[in-house]
């Protein structure tokens, strides 16, 4: 029953984290310098009627705790407020942006994890050799380059070869299904590659050090004494056990994925959640920023929960 206990604990943790994030989202934006009402008057070209309507909609005349309850109630109905810049509901905008962000981020992160595990295992296995030095130092270099700078470098290098702005070619109207899909994929190459390059370095270092820790375990020595092939030992004994800390660390580095997404979407004008963070910072569009922050935080919490479930699958000691 320890398995059920673990699942219950992790679910509870995820739920409390969601609550913390939601509360933080409220506190941060109510802790604004100057009261919230005067900030509403910063809406560009706001009519008095709109100002009154907004004031009433946000319930800014009520005491703080009542505002908080109101905020929770509206949030549970999916109401994230109205954007200052576009005067559209934040949630419906974010939903379409999220649909643009997810494929690009998924592609970049998946590539980074695959390359990271590959090079990490290789350098741990060949530790101290030239292969290890080259692979580790390259990983450190890519870990060290600022994300936005790497994106700009790819822009300089591939400016003529691959599309570098947005996610569709505005001039291919009326093309076939596959042609437009191919066009979208081409647009995705540079942003996803930037994300993969910035992440893979850290993943390599994480995998390498977890592998080095398991390589010193007695069961690896036993496996070798039994005469198993090196590759089999690496695959079934060392890597399997190294996957436990790796999963945790990759889940914890998802914050970097989110940070990278904001910077990359800004560089490549990718119309996703990250770009809307940038735009709302530039326009001081607080509802949009609040919504985007909530969406990004909740997605990180969600994937941490997924990692916990994965851990459940990977570590038989929990479910036993």
């Amino acid at each position: 029953m320890r398995g059920a206990d673990y699942l219950l604990k992790r679910t509870l943790f995820a739920l409390v984290t969601v609550f913390v994030a939601v509360t933080l989202n409220f506190v941060l934006f109510r802790a604004l310098p100057g009261d919230a009402v005067s900030n509403l008057s910063h809406v560009p070209h706001a009519t008095p009627a709109l100002r009154l309507a907004l004031q009433k909609e946000f319930g800014l005349d009520k005491p703080m705790w009542e505002q908080y309850l109101l905020y929770l109630k509206e949030l549970s109905r999916g109401n994230l407020g109205v954007s200052f810049a576009t005067q559209q509901p934040v949630w419906s905008q974010l939903r379409s942006k999220l649909a643009n962000t997810i494929p690009m981020v998924a592609l970049g992160t998946a590539v980074a994890i695959i390359i990271g595990i590959g090079t990490g295992v290789l350098s741990a296995w060949r530790r101290g050799t030239v292969t290890d030095h080259i692979s580790t130092n390259t990983a450190i270099a890519f870990y060290a380059f600022p994300t936005q700078w790497l994106g700009l470098m790819l822009l300089i290098l591939f400016a003529g070869v691959l599309p570098s702005v947005g996610m569709h070619d505005p001039f291919i109207v009326g093309a076939g299904f596959w042609a437009s899909k191919l066009d979208a994929l081409k647009h995705m190459v540079l942003p996803a590659a930037t994300l993969a390059l910035t992440l893979y370095g850290e993943f390599t270092l994480v995998v390498r050090s977890s592998m080095l820790e398991t390589m010193g375990e007695d069961y690896v020595l036993t496996a070798r004494a039994k005469g198993m092939k090196s590759w089999t030992i690496v695959r079934t004994h060392a890597l399997r056990n190294a996957m436990l800390p790796t999963t945790t660390l990759i889940a914890l580095s998802l914050g970097y994925v989110v940070a990278g997404t904001i910077l990359i979407e800004t560089v490549f004008s990718w119309p996703g959640v990250g770009q809307s963070v940038y735009n709302s910072v530039i326009n001081r569009d607080y509802p949009m920023l609040q919504g985007a922050f909530l969406v990004l935080t909740l997605s990180v919490v969600f994937f941490n929960f997924v990692a916990d479930l994965l851990y459940f699958r990977l570590d038989p000691r929990i479910s036993a």
Partner: protein, 318 residues
């Protein structure tokens, strides 16, 4: 005894004395990368301190055309305001390193304090503090930094505090684990039995033991802080009047350096950031590795041994 030691070929073991200097030597010995990292950090620290003296031009006056090409007078060309890039980079080193070290200091004080209290006292304070740490660990740093920096307004001290107050979680966890193990050692228990105060135990007996780990952590935090500063500056959330490597990249991006072909306005600041972060990482990681005895053992050979196939057996048999 000394007669034997003087015999050629016999080397007497020097009495091993553990000292602070011993650890520094342990770290550098067999890890040339640590020395490389230390040299890189030293060079950039020197540049940051003497930026005002060695900068060839002022960072406030235009000395040539917009995006002037690199020449003998201006080795790395000019930026979007016609300002000498070399001077900008030197000045940027100062701001970036100040932000990095100050933010790391804030993070270490908060994280070290939380970790120390949680690990040393245990019980209720530990569970409360670690629960808080766990929640903050999951919430992504950079978006939270963006939100706070947007709300507080752009200023260098805000950037330092925002980064510092959000980077303490890893430090807190690492320090807590270490303090928990040091606390159980005999000499700490003896000191407590002899009536030493908590302050004395923490500062005389626990802190020196975790100092190397703390140093490694500070250095690694400096790297993350500089990285985050470039991100915030790129989004226009740093002090608009301060020249940092992040703001140099931001300006070049916003003022179309790429479409003008002015690579010199973008490539050098990124390389500077990467070099400093690599230096910090190499030093920090070397200290951590030297402290972790588990990494010294590996049971799998690096070299492959091929056995001669036995007569009458399949060549795949091993």
């Amino acid at each position: 005894m000394s007669a034997i030691a003087n015999e050629p070929g016999i080397v007497a073991d020097a009495p091993r004395k553990r000292s602070r200097g011993g650890l520094v030597w342990d770290v550098i010995k067999g890890r040339p990368s640590a020395a490389v990292g230390a040299v890189i950090m030293g060079i950039f620290l020197f540049i940051a301190i003497f930026a005002g003296v060695i900068a060839p031009y002022s960072v406030h006056t235009q000395v040539g055309p917009v995006y002037g090409v690199p020449s003998a007078q201006h080795w790395l060309g000019l930026d979007d305001g016609g300002i000498d890039m070399v001077s900008l980079l030197l000045q940027g080193a100062r701001v970036s390193l100040i932000v990095g070290f100050a933010a790391a200091f804030v993070a270490t004080v908060v994280g070290g304090g939380v970790g120390m209290i949680a690990g040393y006292f245990g019980g209720k304070p530990e569970s409360v503090l670690m629960r808080i740490t766990d929640y903050f660990l999951v919430i992504p740093d950079v978006p939270l930094m963006i939100v706070i920096a947007t709300l507080w307004g752009p200023s260098l001290s805000h950037v330092i505090f925002v980064i510092g107050l959000l980077l303490w979680t890893t430090t807190a966890r690492i320090i807590r684990a270490q303090v928990k193990s040091v606390r159980e050692r005999v000499y700490v228990k003896r000191a407590r039995a002899m009536g030493a105060s908590h302050w004395r135990i923490v500062f005389r007996h626990v802190l020196p033991q975790i100092a190397p780990l703390l140093v490694a952590n500070v250095v690694l935090t400096v790297a993350v802080a500089i990285f985050d500063e470039t991100a915030l500056a790129f989004l226009g959330l740093s002090d608009p009047t301060a020249v940092s490597w992040g703001s140099i990249i931001e300006h070049a991006f916003l003022r179309q350096a790429i479409s003008t072909g002015a690579w010199w306005a973008i490539v050098p600041p990124g390389i500077c950031v990467a070099l400093v972060i690599m230096g910090c990482y190499l030093v920090g990681q070397a200290i951590e590795d030297a402290l972790n005895p588990r990494l010294k053992v590996a049971h799998l050979s690096v070299r492959g041994f091929r056995l001669r196939p036995l007569v009458g057996m399949d060549k795949d048999t091993l």
